[in-house]
Amino acid sequence: MAILDLLLLSILVLCALAAVRTRDLLGAVIIYAAYSLLMAIIWLQLGSPDVAITEAALGAGVTTILMIATISKTGRYE
């Protein structure tokens, strides 16, 4: 389990750095969705399934859709 946690956390840090550094806003939103999904699994590992369900539904689902709707109204590249 420790190996899985370490793997998840390292990919989480990679996702966070990539979401900040990328210039393509749509790509950043998709990386952020992957970040939220990883975060949901980590919440489950930490023993908090309630927060995990909310994170999977809100963070990976609705927030991504709202951000993509915003991008479709504005520009894709900053």
């Binding site: 309630d50 369900i53 909310t54 539904a57 609705v62 859709i65 709202l66 109204k73």
Partner: protein
Amino acid sequence: MRMQEILILKIVVRFVIPFIQVYGFYVITAGHLSPGGGFAGGTIVAASMVLYALTFDASQGLEKLSHERASLFESLGAIWYVALGFLGILVGGNFLTNGQIGIPLGTPGYLISGGLIPLLSFGIGIKVAVTVVSLYYSLVEED
């Protein structure tokens, strides 16, 4: 290829939406027994409605849930919560008192248990679902 022309997407979404909604309502009604509750379940129900509006069209989704109807359901959810809370004050206890108002508490671990809690999470679920959907509509609406 425009979004309106994709047939496979439309048929798959039409097939999948009932399952998402049943799962969302399950998370709401079993909120006092298992992980989940009003907020998480309401978000899942809202995700199904946003999926409908994404696949078909925002105007078609607005026909199902117009802004007037959305604000009506939103207010009903909030009023439902506060009214159930004031029941406790009417009996002479605290706000949101559970056992004193005479509601049957049921057997712990079964679906009908917890007194007020399932009713409260039902109100929260409706309010959260409608709020998230109207957030999406007011973002994508043409004006």
